[in-house]
């Protein structure tokens, strides 16, 4: 089982990112669940959501304690939350940032999702949409296939700019 924890702030689309990722994994022929952790969340507060991907039906409902991967949609949550908590040794960290940040003992990657969203004019109520570009970045990292990622995005969003943003993130990850 591959377990992913997504850190974001309320309103940034972390829950939708989890859902898109799970849907893409299902299109890959796997089993997947996406679960938001519901606390006293509100717009702007740090929140987490969870994705589990496996070859077998998933029977676990409790929170992910030892993720294989951590995705940080908003780098500023790292000032208030230990995003590495429980991350397995050698686990992956993907941060939405222009600058590369090294986390010793882990495989670190970064991509400027905010920049991509702004370039594609994917902005809702003043906030750049990060949940569709991040799926492109995750496809580049091999978590889901590119075809399934695009299929999942198209099923949930009619605006093709979402697919373009995912493609842009995919390309930028390789640079």
């Amino acid at each position: 089982m591959f377990e992913i924890r997504i850190h974001s702030r309320g309103g940034q689309g972390g829950v939708t990112a989890a859902r898109l990722l799970a849907l893409a994994a299902i299109h890959d022929g796997k089993y997947a669940t996406a679960a938001p952790f519901y606390g006293a969340e509100r717009r702007g507060a740090p929140i987490v959501s969870f994705v589990r991907i496996d070859d077998n039906p998933i029977k676990v409902y409790s929170q992910i304690k030892k993720p294989d991967m951590v995705v940080v949609l908003d780098a500023s949550v790292m000032d208030v939350v230990d995003v590495l908590q429980g991350l397995k040794a050698g686990g992956k960290v993907l941060v939405n940032s222009q600058q590369k940040k090294e986390f010793s003992g882990y495989t670190s990657s970064n991509v400027d999702l905010t920049g991509i969203a702004l370039k594609e004019k994917l902005v809702v109520s003043g906030s750049p949409i990060l949940n569709t570009p991040v799926i492109g970045a995750l496809a580049k990292m091999g978590i889901v296939s590119v075809d399934s990622a695009k299929k999942a995005i198209r099923e949930m969003f009619t605006d093709e700019r979402n697919v373009k943003a995912a493609e842009a993130a995919y390309k930028e990850m390789g640079a």
């Binding site: 859902r19 799970a22 849907l23 996406a34 938001p36 519901y38 029977k59 676990v60 409902y61 409790s62």
Partner: protein, 370 residues
């Protein structure tokens, strides 16, 4: 098509397919998405039901009762305090023999103000004459909601059915969902005692001490008959749609020395605990109780039984443990865990089994007790 849906959305999808004549509901966390989704189906023209946005849960159930007695198929959904606010009317629905179907998203009761999973809300409705089923996956939430209509409306039952799903843990998790075309698996509703203006009759009049017990016994007789109807319905569902459901879901119970009994998502997570324990050489099994009413005959002979209750009856004990102790002579270790959404992992469940002390009660997370 491969879809992904939350438990709440799955319930709404099932309701859309059985096309109730009347839906009356009041939103409450964590049930809200069911009501929102159904309202969207109705306003978008996908579901041609009469949708009544009532001012309270008491009114929601009253509206369902009024609609049901005309012979209409009815549905509502609630949670926690909403369910308790309905309590007077839930008794009425069962007593008037009305096949109302309700989804209840299990949530703790206040105070303290807590919106997370617990079964005490539904268990406080245990003695009302409603059939109760507890589900553990998004697919099961969908399938059980479909089947609930067929069971409730069956001529040998004519009692309301409550489909229970764990708040947030299941109501808000996203899992794969396969929808089906139920076709004549759900036949048109025919209520034999529906009111008819051409043939006026009175209901709910004064019933004396020489009659009341007959009506009560009649409920119990139908409750007993419902066992066969549930069996038939689940069998027919498996035949047509390929998914099997029983009164319980048993996992590795055959050769087990110790069996974990639980309801809802914890009952599913317990299967992972069983795998873990078996690797350590402990012969464990899991029995997830699906139907609480009618209460099935559980095959626990010769087993040690570890019961996990996400509920409690003050001054007595875990409600599920109490029910099981009343039915079996086998020794029970009672675990109280998951109250108000308390985090319980499969590793914790494995720990309950490893450290079990038969004949005792253990509150998870409370220090110093055994």
């Amino acid at each position: 098509m491969k879809k992904i849906a939350t438990g709440n959305k799955a319930v709404a999808e099932a309701v859309k397919q059985v096309k109730p004549g009347v839906i009356a509901a009041y939103p409450i966390t964590p049930q809200t998405e069911i009501v929102e989704q159904i309202a969207e189906f109705v306003t978008g023209g996908e579901l041609k039901s009469r949708y009544i946005p009532v001012e309270s849960e008491h009114s929601a159930m009253a509206a369902c009762i009024g609609a049901s007695i005309t012979g209409a198929r009815t549905f509502t959904a609630t949670s926690s305090h909403g369910l308790l606010y309905m309590h007077e009317m839930t008794n009425w629905a069962a007593g008037a023999r009305l096949p109302v179907v309700m989804a209840n998203v299990n949530r703790s009761l206040g105070p303290g103000w807590n919106i997370w999973a617990e079964h005490t809300d539904a268990l406080q409705e245990r003695d009302t004459g409603w059939l109760q089923v507890y589900v553990s996956t998004v697919q099961e939430a969908y399938d059980a909601t479909l089947m609930a209509f067929r069971i409730a409306e069956h001529n040998d039952v004519l009692l309301p059915v409550m489909v229970n799903l764990d708040g947030f843990l299941l109501s808000h998790i996203m899992q794969p969902l396969e929808t089906i075309e139920p076709g004549d698996f759900i036949p048109p509703i025919h209520l034999p005692h529906a009111i008819d203006v051409k043939n006026p009759a009175g209901y709910g009049g004064l019933t004396g001490p020489d009659q009341q017990f007959r009506f009560r016994w009649d409920i119990e007789r139908s409750m007993r008959d419902s066992v066969k109807v549930i069996e038939e319905t689940q069998k027919e569902f498996a035949k047509r749609f390929g998914r099997n459901y029983g009164f319980t879901e048993d996992y590795q119970c055959g050769d087990a020395d110790v069996i974990i009994v639980a309801m809802g998502t914890l009952g599913k997570e317990a299967e992972v605990a069983v795998d873990l324990l078996r690797r350590e050489g402990i012969k464990a099994g899991s029995m997830r109780l699906r139907w609480l009413r009618p209460f099935p005959k559980l095959n626990l002979k010769g087993k040690q039984v570890v019961v996990i209750d996400r509920d409690y009856s003050f001054g007595r004990g875990g409600i599920l443990a109490t029910e099981i102790m009343a039915q079996t002579k086998e020794e029970v270790a009672s675990i109280i865990a998951g109250i108000g959404g308390q985090e319980v992992t499969y590793e914790d469940v494995a720990g309950f089994v490893r450290k079990r002390r038969m004949g005792t009660e253990f509150w998870f997370g409370v220090s110093g007790n055994v």
